[in-house]
């Protein structure tokens, strides 16, 4: 569980996050949504510690991240897996080496067990026969899967995904979304996903946090989103004709 309490973040005097509070539960896919420039990426990067918050608290299972020493932060980071928007695979390493890297750095497993663990994670993300390929030799969807495998190889307690399906075709995007959700349920991970893909919201939005102009504007889930009267949320989620029709049908079905 991750709790964000009254978090503010400013850059050069410009307030990007304004008093944001939220609770992200374990075993759920928690989505942060918002328009470009709304502050959702800053919120996620503040939770991970890439940005230092101006004020407020971030609690990882009641451990105050903002008050931790450098060594404590580094220890905590071994409980964290992260899937970056561009995958962020190390391009000088093969797929296998990328997934093995966290094991080499931090694992207590015997060296002989590393290969088994790497193969298990690659199989878990349905990636076969790509072990010896370099990231530049595989597709965007496969790169995301390798990044997921790398993120889960140390069995993290917390998983962060920044725009996990950007640049992917809709079918592959759903596969990646479902994979993240399956892993979240399977290992009871606290997963936080930063997205503005409404398909993802409808597919895996167990808990949805809507950020608008740096503030928490709405909180709910993929079902309650249809009943929201938040103007900004509706503008974002139901921007396309397709989603407008879905909302209309959904409300009609409920009335009948």
């Amino acid at each position: 569980m991750i709790e964000v309490k009254n978090v503010c973040k400013s850059f050069d005097g410009v307030e990007v996050l304004k008093n944001v509070s939220a609770l992200f539960h374990a075993g759920k896919t928690n989505l942060i949504i918002g328009q470009s420039g709304s502050g959702k990426t800053v919120l996620m990067k503040s939770i991970i510690g890439i940005h230092h918050v101006t004020s407020g608290q971030i609690l990882y299972n009641n451990r105050d991240f903002t008050a931790m020493s450098g060594d404590e932060v580094r220890a905590l980071r071994q409980e964290v897996g992260m899937l970056f928007q561009g995958s962020a695979l190390f391009d000088s390493m093969t797929v296998e080496e990328n997934v093995r890297f966290p094991l080499e750095m931090f694992s207590n497993l015997p060296k002989e067990a590393w290969d088994d663990r790497v193969n298990f994670c690659l199989n878990r993300v349905n990636l076969h026969n790509a072990n010896k390929l370099f990231p530049s030799e595989i597709s965007g969807g496969m790169q995301k899967r390798v990044a997921i495998a790398r993120a889960i190889v140390l069995q993290p307690t917390y998983l962060f995904c920044d725009e996990p399906n950007s640049g992917l075709d809709p079918k592959t995007a759903i596969v990646i979304d479902q994979l993240i959700q399956e892993i979240t349920y399977e290992y009871n991970i606290t997963t936080i996903i930063n997205t503005h893909d409404m398909n993802s919201v409808m597919e895996i939005g167990d808990h949805v946090l809507f950020i608008n102009k740096g503030e928490k504007s709405w909180e709910g889930n993929k079902d309650s989103i249809f009943e929201s009267d938040n103007e900004y949320l509706n503008d974002l989620v139901f921007a396309s004709d397709l989603f407008k029709k879905i909302k209309k049908n959904n409300l009609l079905n409920k009335r009948t």
Binding site: I50, R77, D91
Partner: protein
């Protein structure tokens, strides 16, 4: 950004670089890789440049010392001392600042803008130490070897040109041996190790603090080469004054 900010950020980065590595075996493996990439791969260009510059120094010296009052061995002596004192350490390092410096800055800069450095940080890896420490150690270890190769091949280049008839090969060999001071080699190696540190650390600094896109990585790479070259020239004056005066 002013000079003091750069110095402060550079110092902070170096503090991270020289922390104890997470895993020594991984660091040693990286050092071996970097020795190959930064050093062994620079051997070819070092030899080619040194042979040609050795030849040109010999020709220029013959041309400019064509005086019956000067001994015939002076060409060999001037070529040797020019190579040992300046070319094989300073000029070679300036050339390597272009090759190795741009390589380091663009590699680390690309890792920065593609979030690979953030990925290391999130994993809990000390990114400056993991990425930069092996490069600094590797290049400081391999540069003396390149300098020795440069001295040797530069002198050979001068010797080869004597067969065109500009000077007797025997006079050249005599000049090479005349009044030889072994300390010059030690001096040259000390200088080159300091220059190697400057090239790797300054280039890594510019790469590490890259932001934006491909254009910005290109700018970082240019800044790395230009600034490390200027710092090398500055240190060359200081070190010459310190070790030779």
């Amino acid at each position: 950004m002013n000079l003091i900010t750069h110095v402060g950020r550079y110092s902070q980065l170096m503090t991270g670089v020289f922390k104890k590595p997470d895993k020594w075996n991984i660091t040693l493996r990286q050092i071996v890789k970097e020795i190959n990439k930064l050093g062994v791969d620079s051997l070819g260009i070092t030899i080619i440049i040194s042979v040609f510059i050795g030849s040109v120094i010999t020709l220029q010296t013959v041309l400019n010392t064509a005086n019956p009052l000067l001994p015939t061995y002076v060409t060999g002596l001037v070529t040797r001392d020019t190579l040992l004192l300046e070319f094989s350490s300073t000029i070679l390092c300036l050339i390597l600042a272009g090759k190795v410096g741009s390589n380091i800055a663009s590699e680390i800069g690309t890792m920065r803008i593609t979030e690979q450095i953030d990925a290391l940080k999130i994993m809990g890896v000390n990114a400056p130490n993991y990425l930069i420490f092996p490069k600094i150690i590797a290049f400081c270890l391999i540069v003396p070897v390149l300098v020795i190769f440069s001295m040797f091949t530069g002198i050979v280049g001068g010797y080869i040109i004597t067969y065109t008839g500009v000077i007797s090969p025997n006079d050249y060999i005599l000049g090479i041996q005349y009044a030889f001071i072994p300390y010059y080699i030690v001096y040259s190696i000390i200088k080159s190790v300091i220059f190697a540190f400057i090239i790797t650390s300054v280039s890594a600094y510019y790469g590490y603090f890259s932001y934006g896109g491909a254009l910005d990585v290109g700018k970082s790479s240019t800044n790395a080469v230009v600034n490390s070259s200027i710092i090398i020239l500055l240190f060359n004056v200081l070190l010459t004054d310190l070790f030779l005066m």
